[in-house]
Subunit: 414 residues, 2 copies
């Protein structure tokens, strides 16, 4: 029997307890040991839980109990999760977490402590909910030099964009619907401003390239500026708008990492990933493109990934899993202004034709997008790829009292 | 340094050698040990290989060398691969194979031997080429009761069907093109008659449900009967034709396993998997649907999966991986006539309207498919779901001197 403690009985934590309870037989046959939930840490009371008498409000009960070899952290946020996880790892207990904020902010340090104490620190559920992604990158694709990862990493924004694309719904209306359905928080900033996706792509980048990439090094743009006009122009162009988290190797030791809405061509596997689903493309030198698709959030999907990590900890109580990266000062990330991208520009101009001519003289070759029923003063086009710096300079030259850029969206090279 | 032997220097085997050679540093950093190819077994000569002096024609060199702890089998076919693999496992050497025929025919026995001698027998590359699927099912989805797996498991047939769907190419022409491009063998039977997909779904079924399912228990139908008319009717219906390998739990201890062309709705993630790509959907009770997508064949993709397994063997030279299933007599597979499916029927009839009326009186509710420019004597419809037995009886009643069924294709419930 293996004693486990769960810290946090919220959506994911209670899902973990449910799965361990309801899948007892299946889990037993996977490892030949029974998982026993010895403690659940939560400040609230849950008298109706089948584990009611195992609840504690005191973290030291868990830390001080040598029988507890595996601790699940599903509290979320940095404090006190960080201190608790650190203390558990220092005590040689393995920790499994679904907390992307924690891993993105302190992964390197916590992995280093785990290494010292020969414990495991696993976090499959922190990216892509129940979709297997951390373990496949770390194990299955180990014989590949990965050059790029790009994905739809946030279900809430994907739901909103899908409603805009498929039902012509305004962003505000779609956001309200997402909130009513429980997909978005009352304060939706972490989702719609891209911070959630940013944490996830930072975790994937750290894992893939072996150095911790902190969220502040990742240029992040949310979806709040996207309009139905842009959605229509994306369709004219032959694609859809998706919020993409992407990291690319651009040089031996340099990476380009970004979260931003992008035009994605209809031919890309990522273009058909709709609603709250997530999809992650990994590009390896041997395997080519591999895509992982599924529910990126939700109680049971996420909890099932946590429990799979717990099982892996049970199998590796003695032998550590080789999952690690080193700390870094973010110096492997190129400045955002050096990032190369083609850009979609929607602009208003008193003289549309003159503005197109100016666009051509300033940006060089452009691909005009002509939409039915476009306002007379609106123009839209896609530039050739160039650095953000170059684009910004050209844009300044393009804009004038007569011409104003209304919307700028990157073209995803996927 | 870990000594490895590779048996078979064909497409995949030479790819394995290439990757071990070219990814030395990456592989070293994954396990902290160097992989050393000590032997390559092949009856042919490869004087230009960087490993030229390591070739042997004598299996006993490998078997008798205690330094060789890991053996890669990429010979293909059953003989002599089966005997060699068995001998290696009996000698306590871990074996990694890409040989789906071997695993489908002898997996249970070989896994049992591996268990006895505390060796590993791994075969990620046997299904889905470089796409991670065996390990994700076995590890990442361990906290799920999987109810169904369905996938596009054969790249050659998917290429042919894609050419038929997108370019209106006849099956024969598309097959010829696949052969010219090296995607199909001169004798394409294993692919186009569904045997390759059958072996793969049997491996996935064995892994998922814990009992060996032998290929002869899996009803298997290839794509040779598919015509461009059927492709058009699938489009009218709102989908595409794909060769699907599927296994479903239908009862506590019973499964329904099949390989057949099916109508797949455009909304399904599997519908957009084109060309030589494979895609596999796994349905778990906690995680919902997860889809894995990528190149299902080819030298480097497949070899990269083999090398990932080799790395896993190195990490688990002492502790066995928990990957196993027991032998069985196929009694968990329901008779094919009890399988439930809706069916697309294309028929010719002297009196089209009378035939539709008869279809309604015989099959009950049907969904008529009306195609532009259909021959006057052609009709097509989709039935409600029913058992194969019931359908067969009704079909007999439906057909007559006046009415002849030209094509029957299952409707995939995906």
């Amino acid at each position: 029997m293996i004693s486990v403690a769960i810290m946090g009985h919220g959506v994911v934590g209670s899902g973990v307890a449910d799965i361990i309870y309801s899948h007892k037989q299946k889990l037993f046959s996977a490892v030949g040991e029974e998982l026993y939930i010895k403690y659940i840490l939560d400040l609230r009371e849950f008298p109706d839980s089948p584990f009611a008498e195992r609840f504690t409000k005191n973290f030291d009960d868990i830390l001080g109990d040598v029988e507890v070899r595996i601790v699940v952290e599903t509290m979320g946020g940095i404090h006190p999760a960080y201190d608790y996880v650190k203390a558990c790892l220092k005590a040689g207990k393995s920790v499994v977490t679904s907390n992307k904020e924690l891993v993105a902010a302190h992964g390197a340090e916590l992995l280093a402590i785990a290494k010292e104490t020969n414990a495991n620190f696993l976090f499959e559920a922190s990216v892509g909910g129940g979709i297997p992604i951390i373990r496949p990158i770390n194990q299955c694709l180990v014989a590949n030099n990965v050059s790029e990862i790009a994905g739809i990493l946030n279900g809430t924004t994907n739901f909103i964009l899908t409603k805009m694309i498929k039902e012509n719904m305004d962003l505000d209306v779609a956001l309200k619907l997402a909130q009513d359905l429980g997909y978005a928080e009352r304060n939706p900033a972490a989702d719609i401003e891209g911070h959630d996706a940013c944490r996830k792509i930072c975790i994937l980048a750290s894992l893939t390239f072996g150095k911790h990439i902190y969220p502040e090094a990742c240029y992040t743009e949310g979806i709040t500026g996207i309009t139905l006009e842009d959605v229509e122009y994306a369709s004219v162009w032959g694609g859809v708008i998706k919020l993409i988290g992407s990291v690319k190797k651009v040089d031996k030791d340099k990476i380009d990492i970004i979260v931003a809405p992008m035009f994605i061509p209809n031919e890309s596997q990522l273009s058909s990933i709709d609603d709250v689903f997530n999809g992650i493309m990994v590009r390896g030198d041997a395997v080519g493109d591999v895509v992982f698709y599924g529910r990126g959030a939700g109680k049971l999907p996420t909890a099932s990934a946590v429990v799979a990590d717990v099982i892996d900890c049970v199998k590796h109580l003695k032998a550590r899993k080789y999952l690690s990266w080193i700390d870094s000062d973010n110096s492997s990330v190129i400045p955002h202004e050096d990032s190369v991208t083609a850009v979609y520009v929607r602009a208003s101009a008193s003289d549309r034709q003159a503005a197109y001519d100016k666009a051509e003289s300033v940006f060089g070759e452009i691909h005009r997008l002509e939409k039915e029923n476009a306002p007379k003063k609106e123009l839209a086009f896609v530039t050739e790829p160039m650095t953000v710096k170059e684009f910004t300079e050209k844009l300044k030259e393009f804009e004038s009292d007569e011409i104003k850029a209304e919307s700028l969206i990157r073209i995803g090279d996927l």
